[in-house]
Symmetry: D2
Subunit: 374 residues, 4 copies
C-alpha cells in the first residue's frame, strides 16, 4: 500500500475491505512521507519493519528484489491524486497488479498513457469506484439490462455532501487541504472527487454513454481554488437525458449519492445511505422494494454473489469495497477478467471531468463528450 | 365556477377546498360546453338551474344583472388554459373577484394585459399554486427568511410525474388531450403544467429570484407536440444556483414535487407526498424533523394558521387548496391584502415559461430571465 | 350537532368532514352549555339563531316541531362521553338518525339498551371510528379477506400518543380534563379513548374476533384517576394471536396508530400517520407498497370509492371522516345498509373496554371476551 | 473456533468480524464433526492442517500442548446451543479466553456452573449479543442514562422475523433443523434464539431490570416442537412497563429488531435494519434524528469509538460484531474490563428464558423474574 498513514481516511477502509473476506493481506507499505508516521503506521498494521519503505520508489525496488513467492502481488494506491498515475505506471512496469483510488490520473492524457502501459503489462488494474461494489447497484444494472424499465428515458444522479460547507482546509483538515490544491488534486474539486462517482454509477447502471453535456460549476467558499459544487445536464447516445448533481457545500448532507432511472415501463431508485433497498416503481402495479439478502431468491446472481448475509442484516460501505477486492484478487488468482471498474472506467471518468470543465468554460449550451479511446 | 364539468379533475378539488372550511359556497356555474354535462353537474352540485349558465359570457351577464347581495362574489376559473385570461379579465371588469387555475394566461403579454385590467379593477385575483397552501411550505419559507440556512447556496426543486409515460391523449384521457394541444394549453406542456409549480415554490421559499437559466426540454412520446419533460439549470439574483426538474414521463412516479435548499448553516427538504414533515439538516447538530400540527409550538405563526389538526392527524392536498380559498375569501371580507399567490406570481410564472422556451431553443448556455414587470 | 363549541376539537373536524363532500349541511345545534359560547359558535357556523338551542333536549323538541322537510335528519353527537348514549337514544326515539362520537356509551349495558332502542327505531346509527374511513384500511381488509396473507397468525396493533405525558388536565386543557373524569369519560381513560380505535381496526381488518385477552393498564401521572396507558395480549377465535398497545404517555409520539398483520404467506402494515401507503411483505417476492389513488387500478373497489384524488395527492384524517359521513348519509338517502361502523362496533368496543378492565383487575392470565350480543 | 463448518451461517460472520479490524486471527479450529467438511473448511480459511482438530476436546488438548506464545488465546464457540457451556467451561479450565454464541447454556443452572468456572479462571468470557455492538445502541444507552427521556415509563422491544413461516427444518434447512430440536437448541425456540436478544437490548439500553413478566408463546407450524413466536408483558424494577415481542413466523419480515423507550421528556427509537439512525422524539421540540458517523460531534464517546466511517457511509451487522471482538481482544491485551456482554448477560438471558417458559405455563398473570445470581 502506498499512502494511508495516520490521518488518512480511505487507506484504513481499503485495509478493512481487503481483510473482511480475507481477499488480501497487507505485506508492505510506504504509508507516509513523514518518517515517524510511516513507522507508526507500519507497526500498527503489523507490517514488518523491513517492508516499511520510505517512498513508493523504494517500495517497488525493494519488493522487486524479493523472491517471487514472497513479493507483493497487488499494489494499493491511496495517495493524493497527483501520484495515482505515476505510481500505477511504475507498479505495472514492475510487474505488480494495481488497485488505485480514483481518479486514475490528473488528466485524460495521463490516463491514456497509463492505459497504454497497462495494455503492455499483462497485469490487472482496478479503480476504487466503491459504489459499484454495492450488490443492489448490480441488481439495478441487471434490471435495466433485462428490460424492467422498458425504453430508458431519464437518468437523475446526485451526490450531495456538506463537509466542505466551511473552509475545512483553512481549519487544518488534511483531507480538505490536498483536495483543494490543484497540483495535488487535479483540475476539478467536487466533480473530480465525487461527481465522477455519480457519473460512473450512471453509466454503469444505465448501460448508456453520455454523449453531450452542459455543466455549471461553482465555488462557494472564499479562497477556494477548485469547484466545490456543480450541476450537469446530460444526453446519452441511447436517447436518454438527465441531470447529474454533485456538491460538497450542501450543509447538513452526509454522503447522499442517489441514482434514479426512468423508462416507459417504470423507474428505479437507489440511495447509497440505505444501500440494501432498491425501489422499483412500475407503471402497472404497486411499488416494489427489493431488499438485499442472500436469501432473496428473486435477486440476480451478480447481486447475490456480492452479499454475505440474509436480508435484514445490513451490509454497508466497507462490504461494498470488499467486493471490489474480492473481485480483483480472485481474478488475479483464476485469470478471469475482473468486473471491478478498471481502465475503461478510468478513461471515461477523466474524459467526464475534462468535458465538464470544458463545458463550464464554454458559452455554448452543449459540449460533446471528449473521446476517451486509448 | 367556469369549467369543472363531469370528467374534469381539478374543478372537483376546488369545490371540496372551498367547502372544507366553509370559505365559499358554490352559487352558479358554467361547467361545460356540453349542455347535458352542464345540467347534470349543476344538479349534482346543488346549483339552481337558473344560475347554471350555458357559457361564461352568459354567466357574467346573468350575475351582473342580479341584486348586489345575491350576486356572485368570486369567480373560480377551472377551464383549459386558453380561457383563463379572457375569462379573468371579463370577470374583473364585471366587478367580480377571481380565483384562477394556473397558468394565468397563454403568454406573458396576455398576463401583462390581465395585470393592467386587475390594477384598474379594485378586485382581488388569486392563482391556484396549490402547493403554496401547504403549512410546512410556509414554515420552510419562514426558516429561510429568518436565517436557519445561513447564506443560501443551492436550490434543487423537482417535480417528477409518470402519468404521461404513454400516449394518454391518444387513449382518450381528456386531461391529457387538451394539455397536449398548444392552442388550448399554451406553448409549453410539462413546464407550463407542473414546472411552473416547482418554479413558484422555489422562488417563494427561497425568497430569491431566478436571474438566469439554461433549459433542456424533451418530448418522449411519439406524436406529442409539447414538451413532456425538462431540466433547467438556475442562477438567482441572490447568488444561489440550482436545478429545476419537471417531468411527466418518469414511469411510476406519482406527484413527487420536492424542494431542497441548502445554505452554509444547513439544509431544508420538503416532499409534497409527505407534506407534514419538513426535514432540517443542520451543520452543527442532529437532523431535525419538524412536523405539522397546531400543537407544535415551535412552528411559525403562518404555518400554524394553515393547520386544522394536532400533529399526527394528516392533512393533505385539499387542505392546502382550502388554505388558498380561506386566505382569498377572508381578504375579500376584511379588505386586507391576501397572501395567496396572485398576479405577481402569474407574471413570474409566465416569464419563467417563456424564458425556459427561449433557452431551450438557444444554443447559448445562459438565458436571462425575461422581465416580467407589469 | 350537540357539542362542538369553541375549544372543542372533534366537533370542528365533523363539520369539515360533512362539508368536504357536501354530504350534510349543519342546520341546528346545541354546541355548548355556556350560553355565550353556544351563541358565538352558532354565529360562526352560520346556524340560524332560532335553531341554536340551549340544550340537546330543547334541540330535539324544537326540531321535532318543525315541518318534516325542514327538520334535522341526522344528529351528530360530539359531547363528552357520558352524554353519548342518552342523547343518541332520545334522538332515535325522536325519529332522527344518529352519528355519534365513540365510545357509544359508558358501559356495555348502556350500549345494549341503546341497541334495543335502535332496533325499534328504523333509523341509522353510525359511530365515529374515523380510522375505518381510510381507504387503505379497506384495501388491507380486502387483501386479508381474499387471502393475500394466507392463514392469519399475528395481529399487532398499537396506538401510542404522547399528549398526556404531563398533567394536561391540571394545566387547564379541557380535552384532557373531561377525559380524566370517570363520570364524564367512563371507566377507562386511554383504553376507552384510543385503545378501542385500535381494537376496532384490528377486528375490522383481520375479520377475526378477539376471544381472550390479558391486559395490563397503567397510570403514569400523579393524581390521574384513569388509565393513561396499557398493553393487551390477544387471542382470536380464528386461531391468531397478538398484542394491542395503547398509550397516551409515550412522550414525543403524535398519533401513531399502526396495524400489522402476518400470515403464512405474508404481512401487511398500515400507519395512520402515512395513511396512503400500505406495505405488503410477501414471503415469495419483493416488498410491495400499495399507494392510495383513484388511478391505482390494482386497488379494490372499496378503497377506490373512498378516494378523491390520483396517487401522490395526499388525503388525510378529515377525508377519512368525510368517508364515514358520505357512507352514512348516502345510506339515509338510498336506503341501503351503511358500511360505516355502527351498533355492532359499539357493542364490541364497549365489551372490549369492560373485558380489558376485568382482565387488568384479574390475577388470572386469560380473560374471556364478554359476550356483546344485543 | 469450534463450529463454523460449511453450511453454517454465524461462523462465517465471526470470522469476518474478527478480521475486519484485525482484532484476531484464526489459528486453529474444529469446524465440523464431518471430517471432510472440517478439512475443507480449514483449507478454505487458511488454517494449518495440523491445527485443524477432529473435535473440540482434541483442539483444547492440542493447543494446550503448544508453547505459550504459539497457543490459541481466545476460543470462539459457534456450535449448536447444547455445546456452548461444556466447551466454554473446558476452555476456561484450559486457560483460554472464550467468546461464545448465545445462549450461554441450555439452562440457568448450567450457566451458573459456567459462571463459577469463569470466576475461578481469571480468563475473560464474551457472549455474542451482536446487537449490543451497534454504535447507536450505545448512543441510546447514553441518552437514557443521562436523562434525555426523563423518567422512563415504557419499553417496547420487538423482534419479528419470517424465515420460519414454513417448515424449513422439514425442507432440509440445517439452521432450522437443529434450532427445532430441544436437545440441541434448549427449552425454547424463538425466545431462546431471538427473544433473548430483544431482552438483552431492552435491559442494556434502559438500564433497568425486568422484575415481572407475563408471557404467551405459540407454535404455528405443524410438527414443530418449540415455540416459534411469543409476546411478553413486562414490568421493571424501576417502575417502567412494556412489551417484548419475538416471532419467527411473521411472513415477510426479515430481521426487524426494534427498540422504543419513552419517558416523560421524550422517546427513542432504534431499528436494527436501519442501524445508523436513532430517532429522538422530544416533548418540547422537533423530532431529532441522530446519525452514526465519526464526524458527528454530538454523539457520545462510546458510540464514536464503535464507528469507523464518517456519516453517510453505512456500517452494518458485521461491523457491530467486530466491535464486540475489538472490545474483548483489547481487554485481553490491556487487562481492562471489557464492555462486551459477558457472564452477567448470560445469567440474565437464561433467567429470562426460564421465566418466560414458567409464565407461559402458568395460569397466573404475573411471574417474578427468576433470580439469576451466581
Amino acid at each position: 500500500m502506498v499512502g494511508g498513514g495516520e490521518g488518512a481516511f480511505i487507506g484504513r477502509v481499503h485495509l478493512q475491505a481487503m481483510r473482511l473476506d480475507g481477499s488480501a493481506e497487507l505485506v508492505c507499505g510506504a504509508f507516509s512521507r513523514d518518517v515517524e508516521n510511516n513507522r507508526r503506521t507500519a507497526s500498527l498494521l503489523h507490517v514488518d519493519a523491513d517492508r516499511c519503505y520510505e517512498s513508493w520508489e523504494q517500495l517497488l525496488d525493494g519488493e522487486r528484489a524479493l523472491p517471487a513467492e514472497e513479493r507483493l502481488e497487488l499494489l494499493v494506491i491511496v495517495t493524493p491524486n497527483h501520484l495515482h498515475a505515476p505510481i500505477a505506471r511504475a507498479a505495472l512496469e514492475s510487474g505488480f497488479h494495481v488497485f488505485s483510488e480514483k481518479p486514475a490520473a490528473l488528466s485524460l492524457a495521463e490516463t491514456q498513457v497509463l492505459a497504454a502501459t497497462l495494455a503492455r503489462s499483462e497485469r490487472l488494474y482496478g479503480l476504487a469506484h466503491t459504489y459499484q461494489g454495492y450488490p443492489m447497484v448490480w441488481q439495478a444494472q441487471h434490471m435495466v439490462a433485462t428490460g424492467a424499465l422498458g425504453r430508458l428515458r431519464k437518468i437523475y444522479v446526485e451526490y450531495p455532501q456538506g463537509w466542505l460547507s466551511e473552509d475545512q482546509a483553512g481549519q487544518g483538515n488534511k483531507q480538505a487541504a490536498w483536495r483543494g490544491e490543484p497540483s495535488l488534486s487535479g483540475p476539478s474539486g467536487c466533480m473530480g472527487d465525487i461527481g465522477v462517482h455519480a457519473f460512473n454509477l450512471a453509466e454503469f447502471v444505465s448501460g448508456q454513454r453520455i454523449g453531450q453535456l452542459c455543466a455549471d460549476l461553482g465555488v462557494h467558499v472564499e479562497g477556494r481554488q477548485l469547484d466545490d459544487d456543480g450541476a450537469v445536464l446530460l444526453r446519452t447516445d441511447g436517447g436518454a437525458s438527465g441531470v447529474l448533481i454533485a456538491s460538497q457545500v450542501c450543509g447538513g448532507e452526509e454522503n447522499a449519492l442517489t441514482l434514479r432511472l426512468y423508462g416507459d415501463r417504470g423507474g428505479l431508485e437507489w440511495r447509497q445511505e440505505d444501500p440494501g433497498s432498491l425501489i422499483y416503481r412500475k407503471t402497472d402495479g404497486p411499488i416494489q422494494v427489493l431488499r438485499a439478502g442472500i436469501d432473496q431468491a428473486w435477486l440476480c446472481e451478480a447481486a447475490r454473489q456480492r452479499l454475505r448475509l440474509p436480508a435484514g442484516h445490513p451490509e454497508g460501505y466497507i462490504e461494498a469495497m470488499a467486493n471490489l477486492y474480492t473481485d480483483l484478487t480472485s481474478s488475479i488468482r483464476n485469470g478471469k477478467r475482473p468486473t471491478v471498474p478498471g481502465i475503461e472506467a478510468a478513461l471515461r471518468g477523466m474524459a467526464f471531468i475534462e468535458t465538464v470543465l470544458a463545458s463550464h468554460h464554454s458559452e455554448g449550451k452543449w459540449t460533446s463528450f471528449i473521446a476517451a479511446e486509448q
